[in-house]
Amino acid sequence: MAAPMYFSVVVTVTIVKLLLIPSYRSTDFEVHRNWLAITHSRPVSQWYYEDTSEWTLDYPPMFAWFEFLLSRIAKLFDPAMLEVTNLNYASFATVLFQRLSVIVSDFVLVYAVYECCQCVQVLCCFRCCQCVQLVGKKKSPHLLSQPMFVLAVLLLWNFGLLIVDHIHFQYNGFLTGLKLLSIARILQRRHLEGAFWFSLLLNFKHIYLYIAPAYFIFLLRSYCFTRSNRDGRVQWTSLSLMNLFGLGVVVLEVFAISFGPFIAMGQLGQVLSRLFPVKRGLVHAYWAPNFWALYNIADKAATAVAVRAKLLSADDITKATMTGGLVQEYTHNALPTITPLVTVILTLAAMMPALVHLWRRPCTPRDFLRCLVLCAFSSFLFGYHVHEKAIILIIIPLSLLAVESRQDGQVFLLLSTCGHLSLFPLLFTQAETPSKVCLMLMFSLFAFMSLGVLHSSSKKRPYCLPLLSPLETAYTVGLVFLQLYCSLGHHTLGLTTRLPFLPLMLTSVYCAVGVMWSWLKFYLITLTDMQHLKQS
């Protein structure tokens, strides 16, 4: 892709981000302001003990250092925001600085996406041949049929990143940038750099532990073991101790720089207790569209049936059930209550086939990406206290695959549509409704159009969205009606006071169905992909 084209995509999306400055901000804005204040005005030894605000520092040390750096610049904008006791402070200069810090740090993402787009050239060699053919015919290919352009837009204009970072307020763009950079390095076969960026990323935000197993298996399999047997199995004798040692040094070094000072101060326990709070419930206040949303709704249905059938008395039902999941501690009535241990076992069990599959093949970058997506999927679906925002972790790496193969494109379209729609309740203020609907429409229209053009086939099914089956089309159209009901119909029917949580519940359960379906489909694609046999 020509650099000017990429430049224009970057500039337009940056302008959109700047335009979003006056939008609504969630409490995460105050969280990050507080962290700026903590890292600026407290010594390092106090960072993980400071608790003037309820929003204590609960990201790994690297992120704290990042905030520390930001606070140096923040001083020039408005020093008042750097006082720990100045709770809920949001002057114009503070807002401007915080918003701009997200926009500027997003340039890590811009660089990483550029690197990824270069790699796609390697991945999509087949398609590029076509482009070359077209160029050879002196017929410039349509913009939508250039995989690199499509990928750049899918990643930079990602709906989830835009609304979570630039409306809701977080630094996911920057972190996703680090992640994509590590992926790009791995696609370029610069494994050590990939490992470095990923371990750095882990020290910025520990949620990326979700995808760590894929990195671990991949690096072990394809970097530490250097050869494969003819059937694709690992050749145990080819273990390169040199590579293993180098990898270990890189990873441990990053962790040592990050956690070392805190271990030296004897604060490791305190830091870890901040990073992994265990007192939260199975699901978030708003259920993320995962397996537990379906489990909860099944529990509700079973409870209702049981009460009818007098198997359960009304007294047994805990209050939390009645408030529809608003209380964080959630106890199930009819079905067994889920403990954190159960979710860990289930998550690992769901990852296992993907990891074993990755291990048993001569790992290609495509296998690695698929495994990465499956790990993120498993943690999202079965994890304990998962945020709906974690869907971005799946959609971003899946975008890379979507421009490359038709099947992945199918999964991507379904998952990105329902996954992004499940983010709608994140922005509940009325003034943001048109913004989120427009952004979502733009992203989905572009995704369907461009992937439809990229993977167009001669047999086109009538009345279906591009690449989707009739059933999936019906499901996707259903999302529109769901959203219409939630934003207009529910209020009009006058159910707002009687069933206040029904729209949220409907959204998460309906989206959960789509996410589960995409997961199963994607697993099937991965396990039945026999391309390595053809290659060997």
Binding site: T12, P22, Q130, P434, M442
Partner: protein
């Protein structure tokens, strides 16, 4: 094979462009509006809300009269009836949502999160119903363009920052009157004179400022009828006359029963008693007043007459040219010229009135991308003093950058050769062969960049540096004079272009028709 765009992708790209335009509009509307939290008079936002209050609570005959229930000194209704009806409709909806929003007297200065949302939605609905479809239709009726060009053009036109910032930031309903004017232009260029004149009449009945465009409409229609054979021409003139009068009568019906009532409305609409310009406007009189304090030696009436005389004089060249050689191209240019002359010389000009010349300049974008981009950017800049007051500087800056980038990407507005189609250059290449063509190219380009840099610099100064206490209006005046010098230059440029344009094809075709 990657297929070439099918029907789906064509529709899809268009939808994406429109959704993007709507998105930008909405995001701008999250900013503050004029007079936000500034009692006792607030600003245009309160004016529009107050009109909703007046029209829903009082009988129609009292809308324009001062009375116990209607204090005309507090944002009295001074727009034509169609605006009043629109406000009545919005007011009824507002009343249905929350009666507090329109209750008489009690609702003065009402501000709330929900009310702001309601007002912003009302602008968006007007825009989506009238202006956006007109722009799309205009772009898609250009026969010589490919589909991609049409989509890009409509996206660029919809992103003109001046209109977005005034309607969605400052708060007004300009997109309705401008949209109606655009409908009229489209109808005229497709030979639906009756519909076109009716649409323009509606625009005029929505906002009297549309009078800036009236002269070209009149001359074009008259010229077109003139060209036809005697009987046919007279007949079509009658049709146009009937449609204009009927539209007018229809809109003004409730006010035609009584002569006093009618005169009162007219008096409210044309406030001759007010000053020659409001605040600091980048027109001729305001810039002149920096040097010559003509208010000291001229009476109010004298000024009024002077304005009238200069405006009429300024209208003569473009109008006569259009009258005798009417063509679609000249019509658009005449719209620019006439509205620019009105803006520069007429009485009681607002800084927002620059939107009226901006509309026809937008229409010229695909043919004269360079000069149009320049004009539209300076037009937005000329409203800066107002936008500083409303707290819309950042939004203005960002949308202006977005517009310039969009023009560059969509129409090569900045990088295109400004000398192509420039009559001066054509003339010089014919008559002054020793003068190299490149001279013009570099002169215009450097002029453009210098002008934009100057605007940026002046804008930054006015925001960052407080003016000296002896000259509190220093920055607004400087901005006005700076923009005014540009507008005078553009007026000359567009006049030359109009007078030198010859639609050889059209006139030739008509000549053959006449001889038959």
């Amino acid at each position: 094979m990657p297929q070439h765009p099918t029907m789906d992708t064509r529709f899809g790209t268009l939808c994406t462009a429109v959704v993007f335009a709507v998105f930008v509009r909405w995001v701008v509307s999250l900013n503050s509006y004029s007079g936000m939290g500034k009692p006792p008079m607030y600003g245009d936002y309160e004016a529009q809300r107050h009109w909703m209050e007046i029209t829903t609570n009082l009988p129609i005959k009292q809308w324009y009269f001062n009375g116990t229930d209607n204090d005309l000194l507090y944002w009295g209704l001074d727009y034509p009836p169609l605006t009043a009806y629109h406000m009545w409709l919005c007011g009824k909806v507002a009343e249905w949502i929350d009666p507090d929003w329109t209750s008489l007297f009690a609702s003065r200065g009402y501000e709330s999160y929900e009310h702001k949302l309601f007002m912003r939605y009302s602008v968006l609905i007007g825009d989506v119903v009238i202006y956006i479809p007109a722009v799309l239709l205009y772009c898609f009726l250009q026969k010589k363009f490919t589909h991609t060009q049409k989509v890009l053009l409509s996206c660029v036109l919809l992103l003109f920052p001046g209109l977005i910032i005034i309607d969605y930031g400052h708060f007004q309903y300009n997109s309705i009157s401008l949209g109606l004017t655009l409908w009229a232009v489209i109808a005229l260029s497709h030979r639906h004179e009756v519909l076109g004149s009716a649409a323009f009449m509606l625009a005029l009945c929505y906002k009297q400022m549309s009078l800036y465009h009236a002269m070209p409409f009149f001359c074009y229609l008259l010229g077109k009828c003139w060209q036809q054979r005697w009987k046919k021409g007279f007949f079509s003139l009658c049709c146009i006359g009937v449609s204009v009068l009927a539209t007018f009568a229809f809109v003004w019906m409730p006010f035609l029963s009584d002569k006093d009532l009618f005169l009162q409305v007219v008096h409210r609409i044309f406030p001759v008693a007010r000053g020659v310009f409001e605040d600091k406007v980048s027109n001729f009189w305001c810039s002149l007043s920096v040097v010559v304090k003509f208010r000291n030696f001229m009476s109010h009436e004298g000024l009024l007459k002077l304005c009238l005389a200069t405006t009429l004089l300024g209208l003569v060249p473009s109008s006569l040219d259009l009258l005798f050689r009417p063509s679609g191209n000249k019509f658009k240019l005449a719209l620019v010229n006439s509205s620019l002359v009105f803006f520069l010389f007429s009485f009681q000009v607002h800084e927002k009135s620059i939107l009226l010349p901006a509309l026809p300049v937008c229409l010229l974008l695909p043919w004269r991308p360079f000069t149009s981009t320049w004009f539209l950017t300076i037009a937005t800049f000329s409203m800066l003093p107002l936008l500083v007051k409303d707290g819309l500087v950042i939004a203005t800056l960002i949308t202006s950058i977005l517009f310039i980038i969009a023009v560059e990407l969509g129409l090569q507005g900045v990088s295109s050769d400004p000398t192509i189609g420039c009559p001066v250059c054509i003339w010089s290449s014919k008559n002054l062969p020793w003068l190299p063509h490149r001279v013009f190219f570099y002169a215009v380009k450097s002029g453009f960049y210098a002008s934009l840099m100057g605007a940026l610099f002046l804008g930054l100064l006015s925001v960052v540096v407080p003016p000296p206490s002896s000259l509190p209006d220093l920055w607004p005046v400087l901005i006005s004079v700076y923009s005014c010098s540009h507008f005078i230059g553009f007026t000359l440029y567009y006049h030359i272009v109009q007078l030198m344009t010859t639609d050889s094809k059209e006139t030739a075709a008509q000549k053959t028709k006449k001889t038959q």
